[in-house]
C-alpha cells in the first residue's frame, strides 16, 4: 500500500505544543491494518497514544485487552510485529520502536484482531487456568493429552518462515570506563571520566541522551535540563577518546567486565535494503571499570483491574505529556503510595488534562496537599483504588477510603505509582546481590563483585542532586581504581529538592477484577496466593510454578512486587525471601544479532587447497572434508558422481591418477632426541628407521585408543618428517608439543608444523613412474634406487620437491611435495606429461574406493574412540620393548579381550551390490542384537563387486564365517574375509 499518498489524519490526543518531537515532519504509519500519522521523534507507542488508540494488544494467557503500561524498556503489554514479510520482526516493545515513515506494525497474540480475539475465551475459563495448570494437565492415563493444545495456544508472536534479510554486525570494543545509561547520572559520570582523558564509552538505550531529564525539567549548574544535556553532549563529542552509543541497550554482564550491547542501528526497511546497512550491531565490550547508571523503573500497584487499557505507570504519563506532547487521556486519576506521582498530577493538570482525583494510600504530605489544592485537584489520602471498570478501556475506578466507604470515580486514565526500583538486572548478572532498603522501600545493589560502580537511580539514589554527585564520585573512584589521575573538576549541582517519602503498599485486596502482578505472563495476586497455599516456599519455585518473571521482560515491573507479596504471605522479610536470578539478555536480542555476519559462506572458515583453481577448471565437485574444500570427484558431461568415482578409481588401477593430498599433516621433528621421542609417541618403533626410508605408524592416546595414523620419514639422523591425517594436522602438532613441554622436558627436540608450506600431488597407478619420468626429475626413480617406503629430495618439472614412495591406493605411488605456491605449475606439468598415458584427476571418493579395496583403515571411519591397535590387527605392538603412549592401557585384560570389536573384511554372498555402510550384522545362530557393523563399503570397479570393512566382535578368529547383514531393505548374507580384497600380497606396490 502506498502510505505516502494518504491524507494526514488528525491526532486527537496530541497536545497543541510541547514535546521533543518535530511537528514539521509528519510520518505515516499503519497499525493493525489502519493508517495513522505521528511525528518524527515519536515512538510507535506515543504515536498510537496520540491517535487515541488504546487497545494495543492482548495478554498472554487470558487474552485480555491491553494498552500501554509504561513508556520504555519496561513495557510488558504492547508487543508488536514491525515490518512485513521476511522483514517482519516480532515481539518488539512499541515503546522502543522509533517511528519512521511507512512503518507497518501489528499486534501479537490475538486472532482475528485486537478488538475481537477468540483467545479471550481463556478469560472466561480462567478458574481452570490458574497457576501451574499446565503441570496439572499431566495426568494418567495420557500424560500428553493437553500438551499439544497448550503448546499451540502458548507463545508470543510469529517468526516468518523465510530467510532473514536483515544485516547484522558484531564487533568488539575496549574502554577504560563503560558508562551504562545516558541519564543525568550517566552523563555526569561520563563527563568526569572523559575530562581526565580516559577511554570512555557511554551507552544509552534511548535515541537521545538525558533519561528522565527529557520529561522532568530541572536546573543543573544553572542551566535548564535541555541546555545542560546539549552542553554535556557537545563536550563528550569533542573528547577524543570518548564514544557515545545511542539506541544501544546493555543486555549482558559477564565475568571480567565483559558487557554485551545491542545497538539498534536502523529500522526503516527502505534503508535496510542498501548494501552494508546493518539493522543491529552486537557489541562485546571489555571495560576497565563499569559505571552502572541504569536508573530506576516504577512499580505498578497491585489491585483489581489494574491491567485495563488506560491504567498506566504515573511516571510514564509524564513522559508521554512532556516528551511526546501527548495527552494519554481526558480525565485522570492518580493512585500512589509515594511523592513522585504528585508530579504527574501537576504535569497532567498543567497540560490541560482534567485530574479528577489523587488517591494516596498514605497520609498526604502537607506541602504536596497544598499544591494539589492550589490546582483544584481533589485529594483522597488514606485511601486506595481497589477495583476498576471498562473492558476495552478504563471507564471508572473504585475508591475505598480509610473508613471503608466505597465510591466510583469516572475516568479514562489512571496513573499508578508503587514507588521506583533500581534497574539492577545487570548488577545481578555481574554476580551482585540486592538488599532491601526499608526507608525507600526498594531493592538496591549490595557490594559490587566486579570492577564496577553503581550510581544514581540504579543505586537507589532517586533524587537528582545526590544522583549527580554520586555519579561524579563513582567516575573519580573508577579512574583512581585504574591508577589514572582524575581531573580536578567539580560535580554538577542540581537545585535542591524536597526529600521524597514512600510507604510500601504491595497489594490492595477487595477488588472483584483480577489483580495483576506480572502483566506480560498474566500472573495475578491470586496465583501467588495459590502457590503459597500449595507450599511453594522458595522464590525460584514460585517463579517456575506461576511463571512470574519468566516472560521476555524478566519481571521488570513485577519482580519486586511479587517478592514483597510472597514475603508478606510467608511472614518472612524481603531480604530473606531473596530475588530470582536475572539473566542475559536484559531485553530480547534477535538471534541474527548474535551470529552477525557468520552465515552462508562466512558461517565458518573453510580452507582451500593450493591446487583449488586446477580442480575447479577440471570440473571438480567440491565437498568439505575436515574443514577443507576438496574435490569429491571430477564430473564429465552427463556423468553422475557415482560414475565419476568408479571411472577415476578404475583408471588408477589401469593407468594412473593424480590426487591432491596437500591437507595431509606434516610436522618436522628435529633434535638429538627426535628418534627417542617418536618411539614414545608411536605405537611402533621409529628409531630403527634408516635415513631416506619411511614407515607407517599408529599414534595412541593414554587409553591405548588410536588417535591418528600416517607415514613418518627419516630425513636425517636427528630429523624426521611426521605425516598425520588431514584432520589431525593441528591436533597432533599440539599433542606432540604438549608431551614435550609437560612430560618429557628432558628431551631435546623441536616440533615444527609445516603442513601449509607444502602442496602434495600424488601420482598413483602402474603408469605413475612413466609420468614422473616424462615430467622430468633428477631423482633416480627405478624400483631399485627408489623402493616403496622411501623418500628422496630433488627436482620434479624443475620445481624443488620432496618425493615419497608411499601408497594409500595399493598402486605404485609417488607423493610429490612442493612449495604450496608451485602446486599449480606442477599440476599442469604432470597432467601434460600423463596426457597420452591416460592420466585422470582423482577425487577423495575414488581414493576411498581404492583404499577400501586394499583394506587400509581410515581413522575415524573404521575406528572410533574405543579402537586400539590390537583391534585392527596390530598385536605386534605388545612386543615393543620400549615404552610408548598407551602401552600400559593395552596390557589391561579388557584391551585384550577376545570378543572386542575387530576390523575384518566382508564380502556379500548374494550378488555384486555393495553393502550399506553402517549396517549392523549378526553371526550365525544369533536372533537379535548386533555382533558388529559395516564401517566402510564401496563398489569396486576393478573386482566388479562390493567390498567392505567391518568391526565385528571377535572378528579376527572368525575368518570365513557367515554373517547376516541387517539392511533397511532386509537381510543379506555375507562372509568374513581378509582385509585386503585386492592384491593382498602387495605386489603392485613394489613394482
Amino acid at each position: 500500500m502506498n502510505l505516502r499518498s494518504q491524507p494526514l489524519r488528525s491526532q486527537p490526543h496530541r497536545l497543541p505544543t510541547g514535546g521533543l518531537i518535530d511537528r514539521d515532519r509528519p510520518l505515516r504509519f499503519t497499525f493493525a491494518g489502519r493508517r495513522y500519522t505521528g511525528y518524527a521523534g515519536d515512538t510507535l507507542a506515543s504515536a498510537l497514544l496520540a491517535n487515541g488508540v488504546r487497545v494495543l494488544g492482548r495478554s498472554f494467557k487470558y487474552h485480555r485487552p491491553r494498552g500501554l503500561l509504561g513508556a520504555g524498556a519496561e513495557e510488558p503489554n504492547v508487543l508488536v510485529t514491525v515490518g512485513e514479510g521476511a522483514w517482519a520482526v516480532p515481539n518488539l516493545r512499541a515503546t522502543e520502536v522509533p517511528l519512521y515513515d511507512g512503518l507497518v506494525a501489528a499486534p501479537v497474540n490475538c486472532w482475528p484482531g485486537v478488538g475481537f480475539d477468540i483467545g479471550a475465551i481463556n478469560n472466561v475459563f480462567s478458574r481452570f487456568l490458574s497457576a501451574g495448570f499446565y503441570y496439572k494437565t499431566f495426568m494418567w492415563p495420557d500424560w500428553h493429552l493437553f500438551e499439544g493444545f497448550i503448546r499451540k495456544a502458548a507463545g508470543l508472536g510469529k517468526v516468518e518462515n523465510l530467510p532473514d534479510p536483515h544485516r547484522y554486525e558484531t564487533c568488539f570494543a575496549h574502554c577504560d570506563v563503560l558508562v551504562i545509561g545516558g541519564g543525568p547520572a550517566g552523563i555526569a559520570a561520563a563527563r568526569a571520566a572523559a575530562r581526565s582523558g580516559a577511554r570512555v564509552l557511554l551507552v544509552e538505550q534511548d535515541a537521545v541522551l538525558g533519561g528522565r531529564l527529557n520529561h522532568d525539567d530541572a536546573m543543573i549548574d544553572g542551566l535548564g535540563a535541555p541546555a545542560w544535556i546539549r552542553s554535556a553532549e557537545r563536550e563528550l563529542a569533542q573528547a577524543p577518546e570518548t564514544r557515545i552509543l545511542r539506541n544501544t541497550a546493555a543486555v549482558g554482564y559477564f565475568d571480567h567486565n565483559l558487557v554485551a550491547l545491542l545497538e539498534r542501528v536502523e529500522w526503516d526497511p527502505a534503508r535496510l535494503a542498501t548494501p552494508g546497512q546493518a539493522a543491529c550491531r552486537f557489541w562485546q565490550v571489555r571495560a576497565g571499570r563499569v559505571i552502572l547508571a541504569t536508573g530506576a523503573i516504577e512499580r505498578p500497584l497491585v489491585f483489581g483491574g489494574n491491567d485495563r487499557p488506560g491504567v498506566m505507570l504515573a511516571s510514564a504519563l509524564r513522559q508521554y505529556v512532556n516528551r511526546y506532547g501527548v495527552a494519554p487521556g481526558r480525565r485522570a486519576v492518580i493512585f500512589t503510595n509515594n511523592d513522585d506521582a504528585y508530579t504527574t498530577a501537576f504535569c497532567l493538570a498543567d497540560a490541560g488534562v482534567e485530574v479528577a482525583a489523587l488517591v494516596d494510600a498514605r497520609k498526604a504530605p502537607e506541602d504536596l496537599a497544598a499544591q494539589l489544592r492550589g490546582r483544584g485537584i481533589a485529594l483522597h489520602d488514606m485511601s486506595v483504588i481497589c477495583d476498576t471498570r471498562g473492558y476495552k478501556g478504563l471507564k471508572a475506578v473504585r475508591l475505598r477510603d480509610a473508613s471503608g466507604r466505597m465510591g466510583w470515580i469516572d475516568c479514562d486514565l489512571l496513573g499508578m505509582s508503587g514507588g521506583a526500583n533500581p534497574t539492577a538486572h545487570l548488577f545481578c548478572q555481574s554476580g551482585g546481590r540486592l538488599r532491601y532498603d526499608e526507608e525507600q522501600a526498594l531493592l538496591r545493589p549490595g557490594p559490587a563483585v566486579q570492577a564496577m560502580e553503581v550510581a544514581g537511580g540504579a543505586n537507589g539514589t532517586l533524587a537528582l542532586g545526590p544522583a549527580l554527585e554520586e555519579a561524579h564520585a563513582a567516575a573519580m573512584r573508577a579512574l583512581e581504581g585504574m591508577g589514572q589521575m582524575p581531573a580536578a573538576i567539580p560535580a554538577p549541582r542540581a537545585q535542591a529538592s524536597r526529600t521524597a517519602t514512600i510507604t510500601p503498599l504491595w497489594s490492595v485486596a477487595g477488588g472483584k477484577s483480577k489483580a495483576f502482578v506480572d502483566f506480560q505472563n498474566d500472573v495475578t495476586l491470586a496465583d501467588i496466593g495459590q502457590a503459597h497455599r500449595e507450599n511453594f516456599v522458595s522464590v525460584e519455585h514460585l517463579k517456575r510454578y506461576t511463571t512470574l518473571g519468566m516472560a521476555p521482560d524478566q519481571g521488570k515491573t513485577s519482580g519486586v512486587n511479587a517478592l514483597a507479596i510472597m514475603a508478606s504471605l510467608s511472614g518472612q522479610s524481603i531480604d530473606a525471601t531473596g530475588t530470582t536470578t536475572y539473566r542475559f539478555p536484559f531485553t530480547p536480542v534477535p538471534l541474527g544479532a548474535l551470529r552477525g555476519s557468520a552465515t552462508g559462506p562466512l558461517f565458518r572458515p573453510v580452507r582451500r587447497m593450493p591446487g583449488h583453481a586446477c580442480h575447479a577448471a577440471l570440473g571438480a565437485v567440491f565437498e568439505e572434508y575436515g574443514g577443507w574444500q576438496r574435490p569429491s570427484c571430477y564430473l564429465r558431461p552427463g556423468e553422475t558422481p557415482h560414475a565419476a568415482e568408479q571411472r577415476e578409481a578404475a583408471q588408477v588401477r589401469r593407468a594412473v591418477g593424480l590426487f591432491e593430498g596437500s591437507p595431509l599433516g606434516k610436522i618436522e621433528v628435529k633434535g638429538p632426541d627426535a628418534a627417542r621421542f617418536l618411539d614414545l609417541v608411536y605405537a611402533n618403533t621409529l628409531s630403527t628407521l634408516k635415513v631416506g626410508r619411511c614407515r607407517y605408524g599408529l599414534m595412541l592416546n593414554e587409553q591405548g585408543v588410536i588417535i591418528d595414523d600416517g607415514v613418518a620419514a627419516r630425513l636425517g639422523e636427528d630429523h624426521f618428517l611426521v605425516g598425520t591425517t588431514s584432520a589431525g594436522a593441528d591436533r597432533i602438532a599440539a599433542w606432540l608439543e604438549e608431551w614435550l613441554q609437560c612430560e618429557w622436558v628432558d628431551l631435546d627436540v623441536v616440533i615444527a608444523p609445516v603442513t601449509a608450506q607444502w602442496g602434495v600431488l600424488t601420482l598413483s597407478g602402474p603408469q605413475a613412474r612413466a609420468v614422473l619420468a616424462r615430467a622430468g626429475t633428477d631423482i633416480p626413480i627405478d624400483a631399485a634406487a627408489f623402493p616403496h617406503m622411501s623418500v628422496r629430495d630433488g627436482y620434479v618439472a624443475d620445481i624443488p620437491a620432496r618425493v615419497m614412495r608411499v601408497s594409500f591406493t595399493g598402486e605404485m605411488s609417488f607423493e610429490i611435495n612442493v612449495p604450496a605456491d608451485r602446486v599449480d605449475a606442477l599440476y599442469q606439468a604432470l597432467m601434460a606429461a600423463g596426457a597420452d598415458m591416460g592420466i585422470v584427476p582423482v577425487g577423495v571418493e575414488a581414493w576411498m574406493i581404492l583404499r577400501t579395496e586394499k583394506g587400509y583403515l581410515h581413522i575415524g571411519v573404521d575406528t572410533d574412540g574405543t579402537t586400539n591397535p590390537l583391534d585392527v590387527g596390530w598385536a605386534r605392538v605388545l612386543g615393543k620393548k620400549v615404552d610408548f603412549i598407551g602401552k600400559r592401557s593395552l596390557l589391561r585384560p579388557a584391551d585384550q579381550a577376545p570378543d572386542r570389536l575387530q576390523l575384518v573384511g566382508l564380502e556379500a554372498m548374494d550378488g555384486p551390490d555393495h553393502l550399506p555402510v553402517g549396517s549392523h550384522l549378526r553371526l550365525a545362530g544369533r536372533g537379535d542384537g548386533s555382533d558388529g557393523y559395516v564401517s566402510s563399503s564401496v563398489f569396486s570397479p576393478t573386482l566388479g563387486r562390493g567390498v567392505a570393512l567391518a568391526m565385528i566382535h571377535g572378528g579376527h578368529k572368525r575368518l570365513g564365517e557367515a554373517v547376516t547383514i541387517l539392511c533397511a531393505a532386509g537381510e543379506r548374507p555375507a562372509r568374513i574375509v581378509e582385509l585386503a580384497s585386492y592384491d593382498p600380497s602387495g605386489e603392485r606396490l613394489n613394482d
Binding site: R199, R604, P605, A613, G671, A756
Partner: protein
C-alpha cells in the same frame, strides 16, 4: 592461488593482500648462552625476548612464543645454513608459501579489525612494533602494527585466503557508507 591482485580501497580504508617474499619460523629448542644475539649478524637484529614484540623494518623478527620467532624478509638459505651449522634441536621452516598477508590501513582500520578479533588495538594498548597471535574470525593469525597510520598486517595461513577475502569484502561494506563508525 596466484591471483594476488586483490584489494579493497575506500575512503578511510585500504585492505591489500601481500605475498611474502621470504618468511619462515625459527625454533630453538635449547638456545645456549648468547646464541640469540648471534643471529644479529644474519638477521640484522637480536631475536626479541619480550613477548608479542616485533623488531626491524625491512627484515622483521616477530616473537611468537618462547624460543619461536617468525622472520620476514630474509632468504631462507641464510638462516638454514646458520642453523644447520649449529645442529641440534634448531630448526628453520621456510613458510613463505604457507602464509599470506593482509595489510590494513586507514582511519577505520581499527574498526574493521574490531569486527574480527577481541584484541584491543588502541595505540596505548597495542603500539607500533607490537604483534599478537589471536583468532581472527575463527582463523588463527598473527597481527602486527607497522606504523601509526595506522597500518596493520595480518599473517594468515594461505588456505584461508578465499574465506578471508570474502570476510573483508563483507565486513568493509559498512565503511563505504557516509554514516559509518568513527573511532
Amino acid at each position: 592461488m596466484t591471483d594476488l591482485d586483490w584489494r579493497i580501497e575506500m575512503p578511510g580504508l585500504s585492505v591489500t593482500q601481500v605475498h611474502p617474499a621470504f618468511l619462515g619460523i625459527l625454533r630453538l629448542g635449547r638456545p645456549q648462552g648468547t646464541e640469540r644475539e648471534g643471529y644479529m649478524s644474519i638477521l640484522g637484529h637480536a631475536l626479541p625476548q619480550q613477548p608479542n614484540i616485533m623488531v626491524g623494518q625491512d627484515r622483521r623478527l616477530f616473537w611468537l612464543s618462547p624460543c619461536e620467532w617468525m622472520i620476514e624478509g630474509v632468504p631462507p638459505a641464510i638462516v638454514i645454513d646458520h642453523v644447520q651449522a649449529l645442529g641440534g634441536s634448531r630448526h628453520y621452516a621456510d613458510m613463505a608459501a604457507a602464509r599470506t598477508i593482509f595489510e590494513i590501513s586507514g582511519s577505520v582500520a581499527r574498526d574493521l579489525l574490531a569486527k574480527g578479533t577481541s584484541i584491543d588495538f588502541h595505540p596505548r594498548a597495542f603500539g607500533v612494533d607490537h604483534c599478537v597471535r589471536t583468532l581472527f574470525v575463527q582463523v588463527g593469525v598473527l597481527v602486527a602494527r607497522l606504523d601509526d597510520g595506522p597500518t596493520f598486517r595480518i599473517y594468515a595461513d594461505r588456505s584461508y585466503q578465499a574465506y578471508l577475502r570474502d570476510w573483508f569484502s563483507d565486513a568493509a561494506l559498512e565503511f563505504n557508507r557516509q554514516d559509518h563508525l568513527t573511532s
